[in-house]
Symmetry: C2
């Protein structure tokens, strides 16, 4: 199977959408790559950096001739977007997304596809410190994982094409049930983000009580590492927390329990209990691969 799209449309030409556009164009995986967005300035940049061939403002106009639509906007906007233009899609078209939450979002998106249009949920796990098309790069997904979340509704050929697309992007492609995706990512990604945001919040509160506590000035390597991701986008993480609400709440509760347990051990001076808990954590952490 030769992977080739006639007209690929990218809705939301940010870091992820822009990088995918570059890959589609440079690898000639699409005859034409059209960008759709609200910020004209960013769309112009996207043309200049080679992320898209051209842009349009009217998404209905863009998608009606598309055989591939990549939805790369914040997850909270999916419903609005699909309501706007899903009915204009032509049979045989594939719609895929790049959102960090899947579960319910995949089900809802599937329900909005007209007959003969195929939805394939996707989640490339790639760095996102910078934003916008200008930060895009053909290498963004190289060696990174991309999780696809097919359901019983998913068209096997459409899934194959999206798999091939991510393989062309250099990603390691995994498939996973969308609900399981949200449980797992809720644990390994959303919970650490909640932990980091809450830790910074706690330190701000503690500073009220400790005269002379300069968080930036006194920050060491440990604090810097544990809070690095607290500088992530508030809008994006607000949406992820809300769209994966059930899992995130459950996992934060689990974290509150383990913190409470450690506090209790310290409070009662249970040296052996503390050491046991720390040993277990260390042992598990040391199994993590060392990456660059």
């Amino acid at each position: 199977m030769k992977l080739h799209f006639d007209q690929a449309v990218i809705i939301g030409v940010g870091l992820i959408g822009g990088s995918l556009g570059m890959i589609l164009r440079r690898k000639q995986l699409a005859s034409s790559v059209v960008g759709v967005g609200r910020r004209i300035e960013n769309l112009k940049t996207a043309v200049n950096v080679g992320a898209i061939d051209r842009y349009v403002v009217d998404s209905k106009e863009a998608v009606k001739d598309a055989d591939l639509v990549i939805l790369a906007t914040p997850v909270d906007t999916y419903e609005r977007h699909l309501k706007e233009w899903a009915s204009c899609l032509r049979p045989g078209a594939i719609v895929t997304d790049v959102g960090s939450v899947k579960g319910e979002l995949v089900e809802r998106s599937e329900r909005q596809m007209p007959a003969g249009v195929h939805f394939v949920g996707g989640h490339p796990i790639a760095g996102k410190e910078k934003t916008g098309a200008a930060a895009g790069s053909e290498d963004l997904f190289t060696g990174r994982r991309c999780i696809l979340t097919p359901t019983q509704q998913t068209n096997p050929q459409a899934l194959e094409q999206i798999q091939a697309l991510w393989q062309e992007a250099g990603a390691v492609v995994l498939t996973m049930d969308p609900q399981l995706h949200d449980k797992i990512l809720g644990a390994v990604s959303h919970l650490p983000h909640a932990a980091a945001f809450a830790l910074m919040t706690a330190l701000i509160e503690i500073r009220r009580e400790v005269h002379g506590l300069d968080l930036a000035g006194h920050s060491g390597g440990g604090l810097r590492d544990t809070t690095r991701i607290a500088a992530s986008s508030p809008e994006m993480w607000r949406d992820i927390f809300l769209w994966n609400r059930e899992n995130v709440v459950a996992w934060i509760r689990a974290y509150e329990r383990s913190l409470g347990e450690l506090r209790q051990l310290i409070q009662t001076g249970d040296a052996a209990g503390i050491e046991k808990m720390l040993e277990r954590a260390k042992e598990e952490r040391e199994k993590f691969p060392i990456r660059t």
Copy 2:
């Protein structure tokens, strides 16, 4: 003032003690550097890597001719060590330490000094991934902060000498009240460590519930950073948590509150509230200096 000691004794020739020994020797700040420890193998290594001139097993023997004693053993052993040999110290000698907890430990150590012997509490904030004299280096403290914690009992000349010693080691020397040190370090160092250990513990618990959750395999940059310090020494952190019990318990409680608050906002779907909390955390985190 020319900084020079006649006989410097290092009790506990690990990473910190060993590195200080190298500095004392190479910069000729002491005529003789004697190491004391339990593990003969490590002491032999310490001689080979140039951390000490010689070693003895009997600490009483070592300290009786010392004008400088550096206590670089785990904080939980201070009392035992000082009981063993403090009475052998000669008047005019200076005892200093490198422990991560100060407060009560400084008061207790001061009380164990015989008349005319001066105690100066110290805490060099230096990386500790590797341990043992073999990992020591003359550069370990270069550009790092070292907090000295003088009290009303502290002899000004002794403080000056220890300040000069750390300046020779390349450290940025700060002085701070020992109780304030424990409040501040409790917040910026001990709390993040408790957070990381408890986060790994929570993930181990979550894994019981989620079939297919491979913590190491699914770990991304966020999880790796937030949990990196959960691979720290369980013995060392057990002792730090217990010796700074009151502050650590109070700050973990503050963290439990902010986590509970975030969970509550997510649970009730308070998008504006979540965003506000995340914005505040991000703003504070972005004030941190970027370090290498």
